[in-house]
Chain length 307, copies 2
């Protein structure tokens, strides 16, 4: 692997600081938990720093992972749109997080920012791109939470919001269930429009927008009482989260294919998940409302006026 490019160095510096800053915020939000850190090396090049909370005050399981992987051949999952790059040496780095709270009224969330740089074998100029986004997976339907989330997404991405919003709806979709993973947010990949500086600013804006929006939603929901029925529903919905991550998620696939650390990659899976055969919500229940009105693509911003 050649020396790091100036661009890669800038991104790495940002990601390292961002992980520290966010972990501090999330520990405060949780109230009692402290992240446990594991650093790991990848034999073929690079490694990562995983930070995980187990059984906190707010979070049942939460992870914020940094990784920085280098090699001579990009895994297939990273080059499905860029087959000409399959044989170049590459750097892939990013932060990926998943939070699974105890309280079923508090949504699960996922955020990711990533940077790829590939040196094609023919000696032509390096190719780089960013990817990222954040999405929200509520267990119970609260319109104001979905609106708050998408307002943050719009503020962070501006003119890109409509396209990134649709991309998120399309990506976080379980075909075999005909339902979205949650209420979406933003997702993008192969992004290098407008040059490195503009793209890097956008990534920083996405990263910085995530926490305030999620913390607002947490504060609204964390003290709501719940019982066994809500917990049971939460665990069944977590089963769907497992289905998405193991069947469809390119990030999970990239990690497993590129020889990443399995425990870090599968940190995204919930502590517990439940599969009841052929379960359907009671018509008219909040659980049915989630399926009918929240697990399909909607223009959440236009629904703000209904609040």
């Amino acid at each position: 692997m050649p020396d790091l490019s100036h661009q890669t160095t800038q991104v790495l510096d940002f990601l390292n600081c961002f992980q520290d800053e966010l972990c501090g915020q999330v520990e405060s939000l949780d109230g009692i938990a402290v992240f446990h850190e594991d650093c790991w090396d990848r034999p073929e090049g690079g490694g990562g720093r995983s930070r995980v909370i187990t059984d906190g005050g707010l979070f049942e399981k939460a992870g914020i992972n940094f990784s920085h992987v280098t090699g001579n051949q990009l895994p297939a999952s990273a080059t499905s749109h860029r087959s000409e790059l399959a044989s170049g040496s590459f750097v892939a780095t990013g932060i990926s997080l998943v939070f699974h709270p105890h309280n079923p009224y508090v949504p699960t969330t996922h955020m990711n920012v990533r940077y790829f740089e590939v040196q094609p074998q023919d000696g032509s100029r390096p190719v780089w791109w960013f990817g990222g986004g954040f999405d929200l997976t509520p267990y119970y339907p609260f319109l104001e939470d979905a609106v708050r989330w998408h307002q943050a997404a719009q503020q962070a991405t501006g003119d890109h919001y409509p396209g990134f919003k649709k991309w998120c709806d399309d990506y976080f979709f379980l075909k075999h269930r005909n339902e979205t993973r949650g209420v979406g947010g933003i997702f993008f990949d192969d992004f290098n429009t407008g040059g490195f500086e503009d793209c890097f600013r956008l990534i920083q804006s996405v990263a910085q927008a995530f926490y305030p929006a999620y913390a607002d939603i947490v504060d609204r929901r964390r003290d709501m009482d719940f019982g066994d029925a809500q917990r049971r529903f939460q665990l069944m919905r977590r089963g769907r989260y497992v289905e998405f991550n193991l069947v469809y998620d390119r990030g999970t696939l990239f990690g497993l294919q590129s020889g990443g650390r399995t425990e870090s990659i599968l940190m995204s899976l919930p502590l517990l998940a439940r599969w009841e055969y052929n379960w359907h919500p009671e018509p008219g229940s909040p659980e049915a409302e989630l399926y009918d009105d929240f697990l399909r693509p909607r223009n959440w911003l236009s629904l703000a006026m209904e609040l």
Copy 2:
């Protein structure tokens, strides 16, 4: 779809009777449970009959599914070795079962027999093959159970046993964990050696060998006391079962790709599964013995003398 061939009719008759017979045996073994039946149609042709137990006396979740699917294009997962057949009309039929018991000392098991017949588009003779097998996923290490299981497998398959045993070890392997799903058994696919009558006899022999072997193991283990620690370990191992079925299993993929009924296909998932970040067994514990001595390919028959 043309009329059913004589071969297909014979296989369907056998599978229908076998499902009824086995469901009766499994209800007796459970003691209190009764199978719930759902029949379903596939819009493109065929359908199935799913039978599921939830919260029985012995079984936390158990399903015995019959399906009979027809169409004009075999899904990719069925033709990875037979690309010349991708455009023929086909019949695929089989029984697939998974049993997840309550007691962590009783293993989970899976059995499948299946038959494919394809009419190539160029009008040449129909191509047919069988597939199937059974495998055992213990949570706690009992050598005599693994030996009993493989003795049944050997008796059912004779000279085919060594090859089918290896195929099973290779197939039920979680690469990202570097461990087998359990102690294996037998697995085979694309099987048409020796003509239809011989192959059909072998399939019947495999189907008939399954229940007596599993019932013996159940009877040895079902009354063993267990506590929270064993239950917790069982749920973590069930997480691995979910990982295998959603990431690697061709049968699951075939079902989802061919427009099968999602609830029937994912019946194989346990009621509950658990993912603790970076959990490892205590050295010297029964859980560590499972990992060290049971979750890797071994010649179980040669270990019979150690009993």
